[in-house]
């Protein structure tokens, strides 16, 4: 019955993270929790097809998963596990309503994003345990083998266990720092997904959409955190341009994008999320910069002066300085920006957008030979085929004009 297939899928979207989070809190064993959650989802398909969708799907899934977990724990023999089993066995009563099951996803998010885990493991673990992606899907998304991804996940769970990473929402003295850490993981996840979506492989799982979904859940769980809302805004306002980013396997630069294809609902939602007063954190500032682009009907309507101004509100990393220089070049001309960009040579020598920006400024100043040399460097450094193609076209256009 397709209806129940849909129900399982829907329930998966909403319930997987809650189910796993609750199971880990209940048994303290990440592997067991995930295995049994997966089995409960698998069991739901035939059961719900036969007798209909239960009133409280999450409670149903939790009960099934716990029973599976108990079976497995019984089969283990060590005394310590038997003791744990004895205490776990006491709460056999299944919750009748989904609302009766406490939402423990926050504990799970903070643990997955703990700073003692390697960054790639934080991203993978969050996608697996909260997002419900399979290791194979995550492996494809990050262009690694399934074996590598499995190992990464196993090692992360082992570290949580052996190093004693607590399963909890951080106390007040760690709150700000750990929230920042979670946001950094979600932002990285989005960016990696976004970059991959313009790459050669279009069949990969949409990690950016997953990052947006997880950030949305986080905003629901910690509504008081302005930077979490700002991050959601930033992701939406960036993602809104995605339909226009790639055409015929070629990355389309902002100025050449078909703005009619931008997702205006996402722009509106992002703008609404930013309707708070300053002070703004780094995500809020970046979101406002994205909004400046999104509300310009034509490229020449972009308020580059405002963008350059906004960039001064973020702690100046070399990449931020590069972006500010680009905005200044648009507002006040390439000759203003060139010295700023050249000063970043030492920090950004390996970054393809540094060379690409330099090439653009040289070209606008009529210094074609230098522009061509910088483009050659950028082509060599570009991370995806779509970007390489775009840069090659620019170089060809430049050589045509200069008659070389």
């Amino acid at each position: 019955m397709p209806r129940s297939d849909v129900a399982v899928a829907l329930s998966f979207e909403q319930s997987w993270g809650r189910l796993v989070a609750g199971l880990i809190g209940w048994c303290g064993d990440w592997d067991l929790a995930e295995e049994c959650a997966a089995e409960a989802f698998a069991a739901a398909v035939p059961a719900w097809e036969a007798s209909g969708i239960p009133d409280a799907p999450l409670a149903w899934l939790t009960t099934v998963a716990r029973n599976r977990a108990r079976d497995r724990m019984r089969r283990r023999t060590t005394e310590s596990v038997k003791l744990a089993l004895a205490s776990a066995a006491e709460d056999e009563v299944a919750a009748a309503e989904d609302e009766d099951i406490p939402d423990e996803r926050l504990r799970l998010i903070f643990t997955c994003c703990h700073p003692a885990l390697p960054m790639p493991a934080r991203v993978a673990l969050t996608l697996r345990t909260l997002g419900g992606l399979t290791p194979a899907e995550i492996a494809r998304a990050f262009l690694v083998t399934e074996q590598t991804m499995d190992k990464r996940l196993v090692r992360a769970r082992a570290k949580i266990k052996h190093a004693g990473i607590p399963y909890r929402v951080p106390p007040p003295e760690l709150w700000a720092e750990r929230v920042e850490g979670v946001l950094a993981v979600l932002y990285l996840m989005f960016n990696e997904g976004y970059a991959a979506s313009s790459g050669d492989s279009l069949l990969r799982i949409d990690v950016s959409a997953e990052a947006i979904r997880l950030t949305r859940s986080l905003v629901d769980l910690i509504p008081g955190e302005q930077e979490a809302r700002a991050l959601l805004a930033l992701l939406l306002l960036t993602d809104a341009r995605r339909p226009a980013r790639v055409r015929d396997g070629r990355a389309v630069p902002l100025a050449e994008q078909d703005r009619g294809r931008w997702d205006l609902d996402q722009v509106a939602e992002g703008a609404r999320l930013l309707e708070a007063d300053p002070p703004w954190g780094p995500y809020a500032v970046q979101a406002r910069i994205a909004l400046c682009h999104d509300v310009a009907a034509r490229p020449e309507d972009t308020d580059w002066g405002a963008i350059a101004e906004l960039y001064t509100l973020i702690p100046p990393t070399p990449v931020i300085e590069l972006n500010r220089a680009v905005a200044l070049s648009m507002a006040h001309g390439p000759e203003v920006a060139l010295p700023l960009v050249e000063a970043l040579a030492g920090d950004l020598a390996d970054y393809y957008l540094y060379a690409a920006t330099l090439a653009d400024l040289f070209a606008r100043l009529g210094r074609s030979a230098e522009a061509a040399a910088a483009l050659a460097t950028a082509i060599e450094q570009a991370p995806t085929g779509a970007e390489r193609r775009l840069l090659r076209e620019r170089r060809d256009a430049l050589l045509d004009v200069s008659g070389a």
Partner: protein, 248 residues
């Protein structure tokens, strides 16, 4: 005198078992050295995949995954031994099975270290971590080399440092079992077995910018608890601290 034996091995060549595959030999060594009153404390550490490092360049601690330095061989365990002199400490180390797997760095503790008192059982609901305190010691070594030939300079800042350490020890309370600073790394001796023969070399097991300056054995509820202790250590501002769970 008390010496630290720091066991270092290339983890990638080891079976991941509690005894590193040298069970019987290890038990015999521990039994013998305990009976002789030589062995005072010791433990195997969880692999570096379970290590966590704290750096605090500007007061806000930076927590990262992994050990304090990327080296070919990694610290895998430690023993505290009491021996009359360095030669006998090296002999004790040379008889340890680790010399067949990797190397053992032997380094004296600073003077005045009391016998460590470590309960056999970990307290209920707690875990143990070895907290390696690491710092760039090149300046200290240069100063010490200088001091051998001249009078110590007046107004030495080390008293301040000791006050800070004392306050840290009080704050750590029961979360710290014991700890002691080590002699400078250039006075260490590293023991290996090459073709069945014991070879000793001068200096620590690896030449890294930061070197192990001392350690504390912690007993904490979880990693965050241990990180709180580590981040408040006075060296965290200018050095690096590595937390390694003990093999439970």
């Amino acid at each position: 005198m008390k010496y630290l034996m720091l066991h270092t091995v290339d983890e990638s060549t080891l079976p991941e078992t509690e005894d590193g595959g040298v069970g019987e030999e290890l038990t015999a060594w521990v039994d013998e050295m305990s009976a002789r009153g030589v062995l005072l404390d010791g433990a195997r550490l969880r692999p570096i995949a379970d290590a966590t490092t704290v750096r605090a360049p500007s007061g806000s601690p930076l927590v990262t995954d992994g050990p304090f330095a990327e080296t070919k061989e990694q610290v895998a365990g430690y023993d505290v031994i009491d021996c009359p002199d360095l030669d006998s400490a090296v002999a004790v180390a040379a008889s340890h099975p680790t010399t067949g797997l990797g190397a053992i760095e032997v380094r004296a503790f600073d003077d005045g270290m009391p016998d460590p008192e470590v309960p056999d059982q970990v307290a209920e609901g707690k875990r143990r971590y070895l907290m390696l305190v690491c710092a760039d010691m090149r300046r200290a070594m240069a100063r010490e080399a200088e001091a051998d030939t001249s009078e110590p300079a007046a107004g030495d800042e080390s008293d301040d440092g000791e006050d800070e350490i004392d306050r840290w020890i009080v704050d750590a309370g029961a979360r710290r079992i014991y700890g002691w600073p080590l002699d400078l790394p250039d006075r260490a001796v590293t023991v290996r077995r090459v073709d069945g023969k014991v070879v000793t070399t001068d200096g620590p097991f690896a030449e890294t910018k930061e070197q192990i300056a001392g350690y504390d054995l912690l007993e904490c509820t979880d990693l965050d608890d241990a990180l709180a202790v580590a981040s408040s250590h006075p060296v965290a501002g200018g050095g690096v601290i590595e937390l390694r769970p003990l093999w439970a």
